[in-house]
Symmetry: C2
Subunit: 458 residues, 2 copies
């Protein structure tokens, strides 16, 4: 046992510091079953213990890797054998729910789903939602500024965080547990911890904003003849549904046909339409909300804005529509696939999609770029399937990221940079921005102890 | 003419640099008619000129004071005779409105109202709104993270800014003109410029988010017997109005009676109720929105949650209700008044209001603390009128700010710190927070050239 691990064990107790086989028997992440590599896993029970652990690491110049639910898509929480892991797994307490102020105060290790359920018990909604809800943690959601399927209506995690507490690189506790929607007393320091992927501090506790629980939910899948009609439909839905539109998920024809191939999902409507949109609205007035939603569909059908519409007649049918959009495992099975999460101005999206498809086709004549995404957020996901033994990841990245630079797009809409996208950060950020990121990192973590090598190269 | 002013004039031309009488003939701010004191007023026409001016100031170690509309409430834009003013007055161009992405790109010197009107021409809403709309600028709104009357629904300015460009202390241009709702490519550097009151950079251009223009507006003034009923009404309105509630303004009895004294506003309802609430909802479905709004009022009247309700029957009547809330000049005329803008958890608000009233009364038996505010945001405004020749501002501050510390309240909800509240910043922020603010200031502006002395003491 080396000196720093001994010091950590002396300070926190043996049960709080795992080493050897107890480390190796854990998987690296949700995406990587390889054994975890690390000097030790420290599992503090509260902020004071975590601060003490970080002060020790600081004294020994020991780099740390912070772990929440390990579901991140950019390998930011994959540790190296030279790092000590700080795991938030035992800091998973929901401390308070304030029904008057509509806030919740939680430790960072609480899972997203646990918070959603606790809020629901008080007839309140914690609006962040994404596929990893059962495993991902609120601290990780803060660190990665998580997005997901409700961003259009409620914003990203940044917009839901009112206050937070974090441990800085030297073990200092930064407590900014603000509970109010408005607080302009000096710099808003929590912004330093949101979306910086644990490189400037370790989030330990969070105050989040809750919303009233919707009492109505209306959904439909519709088909559009071209992308212009898709964006016009989005504008109409936003205006006519009066702030209740909560999801607007677009599938290109190649996504829809792949998802509904024989053996896959039953197609809710014919497979020849160029675009499919799954839209959903949630409100507080069940009768009027349903009337308004159906009126929108009727009017857009009559005017030719949409070609076809399927309205689910039960919760089971509504779930089946969502399955087409969310469950794409069969599409990936047995095929080499590169996954992407980009954002770009909506007005550029149709041309961008065409250009990427052409680039992929030029490189791999049998290949395809399957497209879908949260279009209202400017967020497109792509599955590039080269269908070729010459399946070079870099060439695929070039095809997908190349056209983004000229149109101000981003190589990461919601997944963050972590380690995997670090080499591409310069395609979305200019030299001045990168220099300023380094200035911040140097100012807050001059010894480069917090998640070193993630996000930016120093 | 001193060296720095000569260098600025040589670089930008005489028309761009005002000195002497041309400086003194301008008022210090909207609130202070005294002549402006400054070495010069620099009026760049674009970002390149502003960057050049800042590079010159940096070379001469010359402090600058940035001015937008000069309507700020904390004297942040009041210059000293040792500063050069950078005025954004000639950078007032609306560059683009993207109706598909629902964004606007503007120079920082555009007034809030000009942007609101430009958006409206495209049937879009720029949702920030506050009394100074005709004079305040978008750059100032960003620098102070402006709040106002729509925060409940649309968030503060921070939530409306997608991208920005700023000139740093050494004249470097930081361009982060993101247009997407989602962009997690590294640190979100615009957060450094939002709400930092020009102390870390000078905002030159901004991309903001627009919303669909509402097509319905329903308002009412209601009366409640106690504060518990006020907060229960807020919860009911948020739930039942399905996301359309846009304003929830509360007036304590002493505000309402003062506003409706003989010679003031005509009282819309009797003056004996403990609390009055002006609530407003804006949606996209005029018929159903009105029905739902009226149903809420009927149900809450029936259940005793509200005592009385007035629904305006015309736009003129609706404006008259808002006048009671917004036009309080008569209440202040001829009376020594100290103004406050605090925020605190809503659950603490009734007790806090009582305690402040008692403290004021104990200090000045004839005095009063008039209260009203954006309650849903945790934001309370107070007018303290000592009605005494012994009208000590510090004693009043003590009475208002004193009880905030224990309940996690803020000495500034939306007005910022500027110069005037700097001495009280420590009541809302702890030593670790203040130290981290200084770390940021040192990292981005080591020579302390940008709005020196504002927000934090170094």
């Amino acid at each position: 046992m080396n000196d720093v691990v001994r010091a950590l064990t002396d300070a926190l107790g043996e049960g709080s510091v795992l080493t050897g086989e107890a480390v190796a028997q854990r998987a690296t992440s949700y995406w990587d079953a390889a054994p975890t590599r690390a000097l030790a896993i420290v599992r503090p029970r509260d902020t004071a213990e975590l601060a003490e652990a970080m002060a020790i690491c600081h004294r020994f110049d020991q780099p740390v890797c912070t772990q929440g639910g390990k579901t991140g898509c950019a390998a930011g929480a994959a540790s190296t054998e030279r790092e000590v892991i700080i795991s938030l797994e035992r800091m998973n307490r929901i401390e308070a729910i304030d029904t008057i102020g509509a806030t919740a105060t939680v430790q960072a290790g609480v899972t997203l789903q646990a918070l959603q359920e606790a809020a629901r018990e008080h007839e309140l909604l914690f609006a962040l939602d994404l596929g990893a809800r059962g495993s991902c943690t609120i601290g990780g959601n803060v660190a990665t500024n998580a997005g997901g399927i409700n961003v259009l209506r409620y914003g990203m995690m940044r917009n839901l965080v009112l206050g937070l507490e974090a441990v800085l690189a030297d073990g200092t506790v930064l407590s900014s547990m603000n509970e109010m929607l408005k607080n302009n007393a000096g710099y808003d320091l929590k912004q330093l911890m949101i979306g910086t992927e644990g490189t400037l501090g370790i989030v330990t506790r969070v105050v989040v904003r809750l919303a009233p629980l919707p009492t109505s939910c209306n959904a439909a899948m519709v088909a559009c003849a071209d992308f212009d009609r898709v964006t016009t439909l989005l504008q109409r839905a936003q205006r006519d549904l009066g702030g209740t539109l909560s999801a607007f998920e677009v599938m290109w024809n190649n996504y829809y046909t792949a998802a509904t191939e024989p053996g896959g999902h039953r197609p809710p409507m014919p497979r020849e339409h160029p675009f499919y949109v799954l839209l959903q609205a949630e409100g507080g007035d069940p009768g009027a909300d349903a009337t308004r939603f159906e009126r929108l569909l009727e009017q857009t059908l009559d005017s030719g804005l949409i070609e076809d519409a399927v309205i689910p007649q039960s919760e089971t049918e509504r779930r089946a529509l969502w399955e087409v959009r969310e469950n794409f495992e069969a599409m990936l099975a047995g095929r080499k696939t590169f996954l992407y999460d980009v954002s770009l101005p909506i007005r550029c999206m149709a041309d961008y999609a065409d250009e990427v498809a052409q680039r992929i086709h030029a490189r791999w004549p049998q290949g395809r770029a399957i497209m879908f995404g949260h279009i209202a957020d400017g967020n497109l996901h792509l599955f590039v399937q080269p269908e070729s033994p010459d399946a070079d990841h870099d060439a695929s990245d070039e095809a997908v990221y190349g056209p983004l630079k000229a149109i101000g797009g981003s190589v990461s809409a919601e997944h963050g940079i972590g380690v995997e996208k670090r080499g591409w950060l310069g395609w979305s950020r200019n030299e001045t921005e990168l220099a300023l990121m380094r200035t911040l990192k140097h100012a807050l973590d001059p010894r480069n102890l917090l998640n070193p090598g993630r996000v930016i190269e120093l």
